[in-house]
């Protein structure tokens, strides 16, 4: 499962113009550091060139944040060009692996093979026609637009700096710029949000026929402003039953509209339009994360960078990998991860592969519990895979502890 999968490259762009109350990802409001940051990421790539050599090369790049759309088109182009130079990107459809030339001439541009998925998260407030055109020219072929809601009150509550109108316009612009793989991020379960309002938001999103939708139930992460606000104003997240209603209805409406509910919070128009990059996280495929706070995984080791831009710049400037910590996962830990990650996806877990990897037959060891879960409609056995049903996905974390 691990070795045969191609790797993903993640670049964390830890800059925002303002912080959103709910977000727990690492970012700072100091865009003046962006130029240094871009140079540092390119240097970090050089550090990993000799050591991060996944068996089958890379086939995805994902620029996440923070707010990657704070990068200028030129800066983005620099990053992609450097990545193309330092790492091997195989065209998954081709039998002839491409090799980098070893040279990195200034101004030289090399194209990515067509089947490499290059995703960029963008804030609806940042996208102009020209910017989108330049992103596309630089090689970005998948846009993930942080819409979150089409309701200005909710956007304001969440601390988003764009309006509903800007979100609508951004999607139109992206289509006009020729992006054929667009994903929209939405949030539900905000305090006081009526489920009917949410379903309306969903309908609106569907009217753009997006290739991909991520619908996240709002969660309160400790240390976020929203967490404090909820406890101070004693606001409440939806109770279990209500949360389940949101979850089930979301799934129903989107699958009725022809999307595949392939992960707890993710829907795709077709199998090939699933987020190939994100799938790597759920399949224990290798990934290299660059930039502050980015996580990497190869074989059974995971490590992550310092969540501090200045420290990151200093380390890289001093010629060191800016790693904060790393962990070597035991077979038991890997097995637990494999379970809880795969139970998030409609694919579930391949029993024979699990057995090959961990030497344990789930159907034998956990038979009584699995039988009970199947009887209760939480799990299904299909094509040698143990898969969560929709109701199962809603309790995926517990399924992992079966």
């Amino acid at each position: 499962m691990i070795k045969n999968e191609q790797a993903g490259l993640y670049i964390h762009v830890p800059f925002c113009l303002s912080k959103c109350g709910y977000c727990s990802f690492y970012s700072v409001v100091s865009p003046d550091l962006i130029p240094d940051f871009v140079k540092a990421v390119v240097r970090e790539m050089a550090f990993y060139k000799p050591s991060f050599v996944p068996f089958k090369g890379f086939d995805t790049i994902y620029l996440g944040g923070g707010t990657p759309s704070l990068l200028s088109a030129k800066q983005l182009d620099d990053l992609l060009t450097a990545a193309r130079h330092y790492f091997r990107f195989d065209d998954p459809g081709s039998n002839h692996p491409l090799r980098h030339t070893g040279e990195y001439p200034e101004g030289h541009k090399c194209r990515y093979p067509e089947n490499i998925e290059i995703t960029m998260e963008v804030n609806p407030g940042d996208v102009s026609k020209n910017y989108l055109r330049d992103l596309k020219a630089a090689g970005v072929n998948r846009l993930n637009i942080g819409v979150q809601s089409f309701d200005d009150r909710i956007l304001k509550f969440l601390g988003r700096r764009h309006s509903a109108k800007e979100a609508l316009a951004a999607i139109d612009e992206a289509r006009n710029a020729g992006f054929q793989n667009i994903g929209l991020d939405l949030i539900y379960g905000v305090s006081g949000q009526d489920i009917r309002l949410w379903l309306k938001t969903l309908e609106q999103a569907l009217s753009f026929a997006p290739e991909h939708l991520s619908c996240y139930q709002l969660s309160l992460e400790e240390k976020t402003p929203l967490y404090k606000q909820y406890s101070k104003e004693s606001l409440q997240l939806p109770a279990e039953n209500e949360a389940l209603d949101f979850f089930m209805n979301t799934s129903k409406i989107l699958t009725d509209a022809g999307l595949i509910h392939y992960e707890v919070s993710n829907f795709a128009r077709s199998d090939s339009l699933k987020s190939r990059h994100n799938m790597k996280y759920w399949r224990h495929a290798p990934y290299l994360g660059l930039g502050p706070a980015a996580h990497s995984f190869l074989d059974s080791r995971r490590w992550w960078n310092k969540a501090d831009v200045k420290a990151y710049l200093n380390e890289v400037g001093g010629g060191k990998k800016p790693v904060d910590k790393s962990e070597s996962l035991s077979a038991e830990q890997l097995a637990l991860e494999a379970l809880f990650l795969s139970m998030r996806t409609n694919d579930g877990i391949h029993l024979q592969q699990y057995k090959n990897r961990f030497g344990a037959d789930l159907l034998v060891g956990k038979k009584q519990v699995i039988d009970e879960l199947m009887e209760n409609g939480l799990l299904e056995l299909k094509d040698g895979r143990l898969q969560p049903t929709l109701a199962g996905m809603a309790v995926a974390d517990s399924l992992a502890l079966m």
């Binding site: 389940l244 980015a294 502890l401």
Partner: protein, 598 residues
């Protein structure tokens, strides 16, 4: 011998026995303030926390009396709970007198009386002490009245004291010297020493606590335990000061210890007589009996990997507790474990707590049971203390259960509530006696099984703590018994099976179902809990499933954190017991044992 006094302090629980002992020790200067640890005689943490003495202990106090003479005052502490009344009697048998301690606010209580009777049986000189006179609620006049009317003692003989404040201490010591007779006996007679306690010392083996009545014993002697005729060579004898203090010899009238290479305390019987192999005494000292456990329960490790640890810990624990017995047991639901016998519920509590605290074990306890007697169709008689061994109902001719006589004392205003409780507990043959104005002594014959279930907690609760309770076993009586099982999602949890009176089965089953419902966490599927007799369901409850718990986002940066969280939950789950497909926490097993109104 003229200058020795052997005495005990007897009291109802919490009337200040340990505090008084501390004051006497301080006053006689055995220890100074610096190394004084409150309530010295209560050695174990649990004793100190619960404020009761579990096992007796002894100390020799040197005292220079007002008459100018030096005395050795041997204070023999006694356990303060009904479970250990035999130990109390053996300690008292080692004395010539007692200090009968009465709380100035609470007055005479059930155990005050029970202990007084014990002391009278041994013809001991009794010195009534009214303690806690410093309390605002102290009512000395009333207590004096009770001493007269309820105890039948001369109220003029009392001493007022506050052990807490240190008042009356010297008067007490003088009374011990003046009023308690010196021991009798002769150092020339053959050795007769009464064992009143034994403690295990990892370096020396068993330390035998004894009172020498006749003759004397010294290192090198060959001694014999009269109940089983085993012989040992004495290694050391001595007195109890704060530590053991080695002496040349222990002689008639003295209290002290003997070390004789006895491996475990189980090789020693409290109440047994020690004599010399060569020149034995003609007969043992009176009063010996072998204490038998009356409450039984199984102990299982939560994780089956811990079985060996549990076995080792029980073996170690047993070294110091001769009245605890255990043997291997196994449960279909809970795996390998041990069936254990206890003197009572407090004893059971103590064992459980010490296993968890001192040996760091997580254990599950089955529902405690008494020992039932079944006569089968073919005439065979079976004693059953484990529901697992319940005989085939078709073969039972007669079932019987042990009965006790409960003695309770309380202010009159609680009489109605207590009678109601006793009736509910199948009490019969009540008798009632007004022992003083507004005070009642009530006695009932009750099945022991009802008493060990939750009687004591509820009694305390209905009398708001003003009631006191004591009991003794009387006999076996015929009873309509059934085996009640608990099923979780259709799987029988044999550790929760109980032998109960038919009329009580449904109430017990309902209670168990409710308790389990509260304690078993919701799981991904519905859980049905049922109480059954044979194939008939008599009670049920349901735990609904939880239906959403998944975290919304899980990308590269979230996985490690999420895994750590799940690892924690997984570890928590390991401490639960899987019954079929349901994880049951330890607390659920304990909750089934708890009373109605905790």
């Amino acid at each position: 011998m003229e200058n020795i006094r052997n005495f005990s302090i007897i009291a109802h629980i919490d009337h200040g026995k340990s505090t008084l002992a501390d004051r006497l020790i301080q006053h006689t200067g055995v220890c100074n303030e610096r190394n004084f640890q409150d309530q010295l005689l209560d050695n174990m943490d649990i004793e100190r926390e619960r404020g009761i003495t579990i096992k007796s202990n002894a100390i020799s106090l040197p005292y220079l009396a007002r008459n100018g003479q030096s005395y050795i005052l041997n204070l023999i502490d006694t356990p303060g709970h009904v479970d250990f009344s035999y130990e109390v009697s053996r300690s008292l048998a080692s004395c010539e007198g007692v200090l009968l301690l009465i709380d100035a606010a609470q007055g005479v209580q059930a155990q005050t009386l029970a202990n007084l009777y014990l002391a009278m049986e041994h013809n001991l000189e009794i010195i009534p002490i009214i303690n806690k006179i410093d309390l605002p609620s102290a009512d000395v006049e009333r207590v004096l009245e009770e001493i007269d009317s309820e105890l039948g003692l001369d109220p003029d003989t009392h001493i007022k004291a506050s052990a807490k404040e240190g008042t009356g201490i010297e008067e007490i010591l003088e009374a011990v010297v003046e009023r308690i007779p010196p021991p009798t006996g002769s150092g020339d007679n053959p050795l007769a020493a009464l064992i009143f306690d034994a403690k295990y010392d990892p370096y020396r083996g068993t330390i035998i606590h004894c009172r020498v009545f006749e003759g004397g014993v010294k290192a090198g002697d060959i001694i014999r335990f009269m109940y089983n005729n085993s012989t040992y060579k004495v290694e050391e004898v001595g007195h109890f000061l704060l530590q053991r203090a080695k002496r040349e010899k222990l002689s008639a009238g003295e209290v002290g210890y003997i070390i004789a290479g006895v491996k475990t305390v189980s090789d020693v019987r409290t109440g047994d007589t020690i004599t010399h192999q060569e020149r034995p005494c003609p007969q043992p000292l009176p009063g010996f009996k072998e204490v038998k456990p009356v409450v039984f329960a199984s102990i299982y490790p939560i994780a089956s990997d811990d079985y060996q640890d549990l076995a080792d810990s029980l073996e170690k624990y047993k070294l110091n507790d001769a009245s605890f017995i255990y043997e291997k047991d196994s449960s279909a639901a809970l795996g390998q474990g041990f069936r254990c016998g206890f003197l009572g519920l407090l004893h059971l509590d103590i064992v459980q707590e010490r296993l968890e605290r001192e040996y760091d074990l997580s254990i599950i306890l089955s529902v405690p049971s008494v020992r039932y007697r079944f006569t089968l169709e073919d005439g065979r008689v079976l004693y059953v203390d484990n529901p697992t061994h319940y005989p085939d109902p078709a073969e039972i001719d007669k079932g019987e259960e042990p009965y006790i006589r409960a003695s309770m004392m309380m202010p009159e205003r609680y009489l109605g509530a207590v009678m109601k409780l006793c009736m509910e507990k199948r009490g019969v043959n009540s008798s009632m006696n007004y022992t003083g104005p507004g005070r009642v002594e009530l006695s009932y014959e009750m099945p022991l099984a009802e008493v060990i279930f939750d009687f004591y907690d509820r009694f305390k609760s209905v009398t708001q703590g003003y009631g006191s309770f004591d009991y003794n076993m009387i006999d076996y009586r015929e009873s309509s018994l059934v085996l009640m099982d608990i099923l979780v999602n259709g799987e029988k949890v044999d550790a929760l099976s109980q032998i109960v009176h038919r009329d009580r089965a449904r109430a017990r089953a309902l209670l168990a179902c409710d308790r389990l419902k509260d304690e078993i966490p919701r799981q991904m599927y519905k859980i049905a809990i049922q109480g059954a007799i044979g194939g008939e369901i008599i009670a049920r409850s349901t735990i609904s499933a939880f239906r959403k718990d998944v975290t919304a986002k899980c990308y590269g940066g979230d996985i490690t954190r999420k895994r750590k969280l799940l690892e924690k939950q997984k570890a928590g789950k390991k401490r639960m017991k899987m019954i079929g497909s349901v994880s049951i926490p330890q607390s659920a097993f304990l909750a089934v044992l708890k009373s109605d109104n905790d």
